[in-house]
């Protein structure tokens, strides 16, 4: 990234030597990203992050297939970057089906099959859920969509930290990535667009990124994403094993401290870096507050909106009631997480639990 900021300040679109040097660096990063997901470099478009990638995938694909196809299918547990985009398309006149999930966050292939129509243009289902870690078995879903002549997009942002991503094996047509989930810089991401899939761009005004994403490239960000993707591949196996061990250790510890604690999502087919835990009878924000006071950084199952505190749509879709959702914390493991840190977290949990009881 420093090379892009200090040594190679040229605009990649310029023909002079400085520009060509920057262009070369950008193309190297594209190769790194492509290698990380098993695609060819020409199938990678750089964006400002996964939100833009998801918007480009959904809006771009749906617009490109009008007027023959105008139906979109997604799931109830998608990130808002997909769900709100899908709802915006519905408001603009497109047809939308939101698939339910079971209590572990899985989508039934039969339900998808029943929802497909001749005019279904796109199915968008995330690879790993960001709140409970459910790893969706995408291949059967992709095959069902393709049998209907329907394209398939997946938001793979939460898969990137510790799962293999191979677009050839998965068969997806579009795949969104973000750098900051794999220790790259914030504000940069990518969209894989399978060769032969046409999208309408979101923006106009330049020829960058094959006219799919006009605008001068974020060269330092792109270099950071490329480096992060390369490092991700190098550390994938060891990171997965480490996260699995730490997750197991944390869940065991939580069950000893709070026997009525429930871990949300599946026991198997789960990405181990995400742990969603419900502590019945506790106020989630107070729990978070006391943990934060002791230096622990966790997240809530609810979010403040303009008027009220809204329960997580993901936990709602899994069937949790509002009280349980308000008593839910999300704990994420990272590259620097250690067993010693989990011991520290568990030790401060005991006091935090005592101080967060609703009754």
């Amino acid at each position: 990234m420093l090379v892009g900021l200090e040594d190679s300040f040229g605009n990649p679109s310029s023909m002079h030597a400085y520009g060509r040097n920057s262009r070369q660096l950008v193309e190297s990063a594209r190769e790194q990203v492509a290698a990380g997901i098993g695609s060819s470099p020409e199938e990678i478009i750089f964006t400002s992050g996964a939100t833009e990638s998801n918007n480009l995938a959904l809006i771009g694909l749906m617009k490109s297939l009008l007027p023959q196809k105008n139906h979109l299918i997604t799931s109830a547990i998608e990130h808002h970057a997909v769900l709100h985009t899908a709802q915006a398309l519905e408001n603009a006149g497109y047809q939308l089906t939101i698939l339910p999930v079971d209590s572990e966050g899985f989508i039934s292939p039969q339900t998808l099959k029943n929802s497909l129509r001749p005019e279904t243009a796109l199915v968008s289902i995330m690879m790993v859920n960001n709140e409970v870690g459910t790893v969706q078995d995408l291949k059967p879903l992709v095959d069902i969509a393709h049998q209907n002549g329907t394209f398939f997009h997946t938001d793979a942002v939460q898969a990137a930290p510790c799962l293999e991503i191979d677009v050839a094996r998965m068969g997806v047509d579009l795949l969104s990535l973000s750098a900051h989930k794999i220790y790259g810089p914030k504000g940069i991401g990518a969209l894989f667009i399978r060769s032969g899939v046409d999208l309408e761009p979101l923006f106009y005004g330049g020829a960058q990124e094959r006219k799919m994403r006009p605008g001068t490239e974020n060269v330092p960000g792109i270099l950071g994403l490329g480096a992060a993707m390369e490092l991700r591949v190098d550390h994938l196996t060891s990171r997965l094993k480490k996260f699995q061990e730490l997750r197991s250790y944390l869940c065991q510890g939580l069950s000893e401290i709070a026997p009525d604690c429930m871990i949300n999502g599946p026991a198997d087919h789960v990405s181990p870096h995400v742990i969603s835990a419900t502590f019945p009878g506790l106020d989630g924000e107070m729990l978070l507050f006391h943990l934060n006071q002791q230096g622990a950084a966790v997240s809530l199952g609810s979010a403040c909106t303009s008027e009220s505190i809204e329960p997580s749509h993901v936990l709602s879709a899994l069937g949790l009631g509002e009280e349980d959702i308000d008593s839910t914390l999300r704990i994420s493991l990272g590259e620097s997480s250690t067993q010693n840190q989990i011991d520290q977290l568990l030790s401060i949990f005991t006091d935090a639990i005592q101080r967060s009881r609703i009754t």
């Binding site: 507050f289 008027e307 505190i309």
Partner: protein, 109 residues
């Protein structure tokens, strides 16, 4: 009474909700003839037990009764439902109990 009956609303991160609860209770209590001042305290900005107030209403179990000098009530249901009847009754009872004089209906807003 010398000054307004002072209620401190204690809440968390969601400042929007605190404002909505504050405005709603102010209106309801004024309608009942109480001369009250309700202010807010977010635990994220100030995690100290409120002092020198007449009543503490907590949207979350931030402070225990032992930590608080003033009387207090947990009004967590207001996070979801502004007009939760049971919680409103508790608030009205607490204000009636601790309010220093009978409200003058002529002063009702």
């Amino acid at each position: 009474m010398m000054g307004k009956f002072h209620i401190r609303l204690v809440g968390g991160w969601c400042g929007n909700r605190m404002y909505i609860v504050q405005e709603h209770l102010s209106k309801l209590l004024a309608e009942q003839g109480y001369d009250v001042k309700i202010d807010q305290q977010s635990i994220w900005e100030n995690y100290a037990p409120p002092q020198h107030v007449d009543l503490v209403l907590q949207l979350m179990p931030a402070f225990t009764e032992e930590e608080l000098e003033p009387p207090s009530l947990l009004v967590r249901p207001f996070l979801k439902t502004l007009d939760d009847p049971k919680t409103l009754d508790l608030v009205f009872e607490a204000v009636a109990l601790h309010y220093p004089s009978i409200p003058d209906p002529a002063q009702a807003g």
